[in-house]
Structures are given as C-alpha cells and as structure tokens.
Amino acid sequence: MSGPKSKLAEILAKREGDITSAWLELQAKDLKALSASEQMDTARKSRQFMDALKSASREGNLEDIAAVHWNPVRELLSDLSAGRAKAGYSPVETASFVFSLKQALFNILREEIANDPAALADAVWQTTLFIDKLGLFTMEAFQKTREDVISRQQQELLELSTPVVRLWENVLALPLIGTLDSSRTQIVMQNLLDAIVATRSDYAIIDITGVPVVDTLVAQHLLKTVAAARLMGADCMISGIRPQIAQTIIHLGVDLTGVITKATLADAFALAIRRSGFAVTKGGKEAKETNEEKRSAAGAI
C-alpha cells in the first residue's frame, strides 16, 4: 500500500537529516531567549526524537500513537514536557517543540510530492492529524507535571500551616491561618491532640486571627476540635474573634456559649496563665523605681 500514511513514513526515512536541520532552525527561532546550553539540550532532544520517530513510523501506524511502537516517542515527549514544566516554560513554549516540526515536515512534503497536488493534500492532512496528536500528548504531560507540583505544594502547605506552639509550661497555642476546610481541620485536630498528650498541657488556645471567614462549616470544625481537646482533659479556648466575625457568628446563629472565647491571643494567654496558678507581675529595676515613686507620692498626700 502506498497511501499518504506510508508517504510520511517514507519521507521521514529518506529525508531525516533535512527535516531535522529545518526543524532545529525553526525551533531556534521560537526559543531565541534560551541560553546556549538550553539550545544544545533542545537540539540533542530533537535528534533523539527524530530517531525515535523514524523507527516508530517504520513499524507503527501513524494514526495510533498510543500503540506500543510509539512508546519511545511518547517517553521522550513526556520527559521533555515534564522538564519544561518544571523549568517554568510556558505551555506555548512547550508545545512549540512538536508544532514547529509541522512546518519542517510540510516544507519537505512539498518538495517531495510537488507534482501530485491530491497526494500532497492527503499527506499534509495526515501530517497535521499526526502532529496534533503528538501536540495534545505533550500538553497532557505538561499539565500533569504542573498538577503534580500543585498537589505536592498543597500537601506541604497543609503541613506548614498548622504548627502547634507551646506558650507556657502547660499552655499550647494553635494559630490558624487561611481557609479551614475538612482535610485541614483533620490535620489541625490531630496535631493539637498529639501536642496535648506530648506536652501534658492543660490549656489549648486556638487562634483564628488569620482565618478570614468563619462560616458554619468552620464553626462546626472549631467546635469539634474544642470538644475533642476537652475529652483529652485540656481546656480549649478560641481567640482572635474580631468584631466583624463576632457579628457574623451571631447572625449565623452559631452557638459558642459553651466555649471560652477571647478577642486576642494575649487575652486568652493571660487567662490560661491565671487559671494555671501563675501571676504576671512587673519586675526589674525600672518597675521597682516606679513603685517607690508611687509610694512616696502616696506618702506626700
């Protein structure tokens, strides 16, 4: 069979060198901003890709790039996309690797089948379909790498953003920042309960100064965390209730009466200190002087 499909394969085999050099030239135009080493890297990958393409097209069907013959080609493309995604290339820059090959192939096809317009049109159409498929595959791989990066960052953020801080001998604080969704609440609760056990704390303060919106879901999560801490034998307070949050909670109808709440972390800390039997007094030389002044002033009266 000498259909257009095999025509492309035939030309790939016959004019590989010409196609590669034309392609490299086109890519150099697209990627002018790259450093010399990146350009060399691209050239090396392009040659590898042409090699893989040539052998795959000899054995495999151009219409089915998911077939086993195309494994090396797909692998090369995935590697390239992943590398470019990680290096911060834009989707356009990444896709141009494959799409710039289209023009190189068209030019050679035109030279090779100049005398048969119908065959040329067929071959061009075939090539377009083929390159588009490879292009879509490239984008998919690019997207996947980006998504992996994002989900890893989400995980890291989850870990980072829920530190339990020890404020005093038996007082813990958990400053919350950002959105409190179900999965974060789970981690928050777990961290807090673990820390209560590990430090044998009697007081835990959840500070929500950094939580922009307290809706019923967040309130429910907070109440559950407070209840769980209580079951562990610790008194749990919520601090950082700003005026606008207080008003909103009232309108929502959320009942926080069973929970000790304070406007600021400092207030909650002071209460925890007092309850655990400590007293905060001003000390040091300066404080003593002020006290003496007061005393003498009182004596004068």
Binding site: D215, T216, L217, T248, H251, G253, V254
Partner: protein
C-alpha cells in the same frame, strides 16, 4: 433597580467556594462596603456556595452590582443549581435542620446576613437562591 455589572463564577469543587468568597469580597470592597458588611456578605456567599455544591451537585453563582432608584448601590448574588431541589423550603430555612452533616444554619444564616433574600426551588429541577446586600 438597575443592573450595573454582572459576572459569573462556577461552583464545581470545594476550591471553587474559596474562589467565590474571594470574588464576592473583591466586589464588596469595590462597592465600598465596610469590614462588617464585607464579612457578612462573604460569609453568606460561603454558606450558599457550599449548599450549591453539597446539595445541588454544583452550579453557578451570578455576582451582580445593582443600583436602586435612589441610586443606592448593592451586591446581589444568585446561586443556581440543577440539583434535586428542596421539597419543603420552610423546613430547610429552620435553624438546626439539615439533611447533610452540617449544623443546619447555613440557609437561615445567609438570610439573616442579607437585606433581601429570595429562594425558588422545585423538586427534580433545581434551586435558585438570591441574596442582596445594600451598601
């Protein structure tokens, strides 16, 4: 009442609820809402967006800036889904009632946080909730 501008945000995933809240806050700031009013309307939008997702199976939010006859400006939010609908709206609005795992305060809370509240729902067809907060 005159419609000044309109924008829509899809609600398909829990992350979209965050996007809705941020879009609502942007509009509220643009309208010059105070901090308390901002928080109220953002919280109401959070409740309704979550309802749209959890009970309506996802939908869309329409954010509209409107102006009254006396040229008072306001923010209207319309939440629409093609979910199972609400058979008994009065029951759904009563505090503490829920068919899910929440507190059962979201719908009624959103109503209390808004100046105007409208709900339309038909079993099998979907639900549309519209709230409005004047500046």
């Amino acid at each position: 009442m005159k419609l000044i501008s309109s924008e829509s945000v899809p609600v398909r995933t829990p992350e979209d609820i965050v996007a809705v809240r941020q879009a609502v806050r942007r509009k509220a700031v643009k309208l010059g809402f105070g901090l308390v009013d901002q928080t109220k309307v953002v919280t109401a939008s959070s409740e309704l967006a979550r309802n749209t997702l959890d009970y309506g199976g996802g939908g869309i939010v329409q954010l509209e800036i409107v102006e009254s006859e006396r040229s008072k400006s306001g923010l209207r939010l319309i939440f629409e889904d093609r979910g199972p609908g609400i058979p008994d709206i009065d029951l759904a609005l009563s505090d503490g009632y829920t068919t899910g795992a929440g507190m059962g305060l979201g719908l009624g809370g959103a109503k209390r946080l808004s100046h105007e509240f409208e709900i339309w729902s038909k079993p099998g067809e979907g639900t549309r909730v519209s709230i409005l907060r004047w500046k």
